[in-house]
């Protein structure tokens, strides 16, 4: 059985752990960056401020998805969990930031700390380092249906036992949503629905927030 076991969603005003029915409006009490010190992460995220905005968004939403799935993590424990991400622009803004900075320096000085975020996998790699994810890591994108594309890839990975669990999701500039899928989850693991049911929801052309709300309805229907 391949199952959806956790969903984390965040935008610039609020965040959600869908299965736990936890929805928090943080904008009135803290900034987007300040959230990193408000219990989103189980242990302090080293140098969180150096991350680019996309990486921050991806790391927040993956942390929320792991929390939703009751998946604990610590600095001294790594696991064979994969992570697959998608978005619309790849690393376009980071590309522009890096190259403009280089041009501004008369094409004589380039900054490694900007260059490392010019790969679309860099936000995923930041998440992999903090959460100790040693499974497959890749970025994919296509013209349409980006989220169904990466979810089906996760399904293939689980079916072929490339990994026992996969974090998979999408981000854009202002919001991100990540899902935890597992193959044959442990009896104590929370399960929302089978992957086929999740795909039927994800394939609908609805916003991420609407998607989260639809999954919330499925969760409520189970209780």
């Amino acid at each position: 059985m391949m199952a959806l076991c956790g969903i984390g969603w965040i935008n610039k005003e609020e965040y959600m752990c869908v299965m736990k029915r936890l929805r928090v409006r943080y904008k009135d009490t803290t900034s987007f960056d300040g959230l990193s010190k408000k219990g989103i992460f189980s242990y302090p995220f080293k140098n969180f401020g150096r991350l680019d905005d996309v990486s921050k968004m991806v790391c927040y939403s993956t942390a929320l998805a792991l929390k939703d799935a009751d998946e604990s993590y610590s600095p001294d424990h790594k696991r064979d969990m994969g992570i697959i991400g998608t978005n619309t622009d790849g690393s376009l803004q980071s590309d522009i930031d890096y190259f403009k900075d280089y041009v501004d320096c008369d094409r004589k000085l380039s900054r490694g700390n900007l260059f490392i975020y010019t790969l679309p996998t860099s936000p995923l790699a930041e998440a992999a380092i903090h959460f100790g994810l040693q499974g497959p890591l890749l970025y994919m994108t296509a013209e349409k249906a980006k989220l169904p594309l990466v979810i089906r890839t996760a399904e293939d990975m689980l079916r072929l036992e490339e990994s026992q669990s996969v974090l998979v999701g999408i981000n854009n500039k202002d919001e991100a949503m990540y899902f935890v899928f597992k193959k044959d989850p442990e009896p104590e693991s929370p399960v929302l629905c089978e992957i086929s049911k999740a795909i039927s929801v994800i394939e609908k052309e609805i916003s991420l927030l609407e998607m989260a709300e639809e999954f919330l309805m499925i969760q409520k229907g189970k209780c």
Partner: protein, 382 residues
């Protein structure tokens, strides 16, 4: 991990066509012959001014126009697919492996002070590749840093094994441009002259550029269509170090995991491996990381080579060029020398050679890649 293997009754994946364009020129033959001759294509750059960088050397393809009408990778792909136009099956799914694709177009806009830099370039790029390769499918980009091609081969094979597609064309490409060159220089990753993978005196990588494709399909379809099989994807392992954004793991645990997964998924034993086409960039840390992993996984020394002393590190294209060379090595029963190797580092002694070597028949090959973000790929070929 003991039970993780691709079930035997599942669909087999074979390669039925491939080609490449590299700094040696057009075609696999040019790359094969030059690598075997021990020649390097790495030379002083004349594409842009590199005098401020750590190095002024790279391996580039002659005849490409920088900041011209088309991007560098599109020029490479147009040349690559010229004779294959119309020969790619119309139902083939398209996977495009790249790290930076048409980044030279963004460079050009920024340098010209244009304001429309933020337009979505990925979809447009996919349309271009689809048009050049002649696929109906509009395609998917796969990016896994310098393991992009290995990851794309894995995903393509998974699509076929899971029945999502009967036929997938994997295209990989990346170019040498000021953007990428300045970035690698800022990370102090470049050899001042030419990369010397696994050498005692190696001091960095040399950037290179290439485009390649491999057409994969189910073995049953290849038989049905009477196609010549040039290799088989027996298995693969993908992993991440979860350790550092740019530096390889000091314990090599990520690559070890990928190698073990790859062998298990292929239902193969380490003794079945005839040779390893290593990532072998020429940086001190990468090559040491790989040798630690190989020592951990293999009981006996295996013949290893790297082609990056010849064509440089072609980034997202590297794994596909290396797969094509490895498939030919399996067919011809010999592996190339490691170009620019003078004196093997102590940990690589007895594994690498500056000479070509023959290999036994009916064995399998491993192609390994590693990239920024700690991303590892190992593909098992038969």
């Amino acid at each position: 991990m003991e039970n993780r293997r691709i079930p035997e009754n599942i669909i087999k994946v074979v390669a039925v066509a491939s080609d490449m364009i590299t700094p040696y020129g057009k075609g696999t033959k040019a790359c094969w012959e030059n690598i075997f001759a021990g020649r390097t294509a790495i030379s002083k750059l004349n594409r842009f001014n590199a005098s401020e960088f750590q190095s002024e050397y790279a391996a580039t393809i002659e005849g490409l126009e920088y900041h011209g009408k088309d991007s560098l990778v599109v020029q490479m792909l147009a040349s690559l697919f010229g004779k294959f136009k119309g020969l790619i099956p119309s139902d083939a799914k398209l996977l495009v492996a790249t790290t930076k694709g048409e980044i030279d177009l963004i460079e050009e806009k920024i340098l010209a002070g244009k304001k429309d830099v933020t337009e979505n370039s990925q979809t447009v790029f996919l349309e271009r590749v689809s048009s050049i390769a002649g696929t109906k499918d509009k395609g998917t980009i796969i990016s896994a840093a310098c393991s992009s091609a290995g990851a794309a081969i894995a995903r393509a094979s998974a699509m076929i094994k899971c029945g999502r597609a009967e036929c997938v064309i994997v295209v990989a490409c990346d170019s040498v441009n000021e953007f990428v060159y300045s970035g690698f220089s800022s990370l102090m990753a470049l050899d001042k002259f030419t990369a010397k993978p696994f050498d005692k005196n190696r001091s960095g990588l040399s950037l290179g550029e290439a485009a390649a494709f491999v057409l994969l399909m189910s073995k049953s379809r290849s038989r049905r269509e009477n196609r010549e099989i040039i290799g088989e994807v027996l298995g693969w392992g993908l992993s991440d170090d979860a350790n550092h954004m740019t530096g390889p793991s000091r314990s090599s645990e990520g690559l070890i995991l990928a190698l073990k997964k790859a062998l298990l998924s292929a239902d193969a034993d380490e003794k079945d491996v005839a040779f390893i086409s290593a990532h072998g960039t020429g940086t001190v840390y990468n090559d040491s990381m790989e040798m630690r992993a190989f020592n951990a996984v293999f009981k006996d020394r295996k013949p290893i080579y790297s082609i990056k002393g010849g064509i440089g590190h072609t980034m997202g294209a590297a794994g596909l060029v290396e797969m094509i060379i490895a498939m030919r090595a399996l067919r011809e029963g010999k592996i190339p020398p490691t170009v620019n190797l003078t004196e093997a580092d102590s940990d690589a002694e007895g594994w690498v050679s500056e000479r070509e070597r023959s290999i036994p028949q009916n064995k399998i090959a491993l192609v390994t890649n590693a990239g920024f973000g700690g991303i590892n790929a190992a593909v098992v070929l038969g």
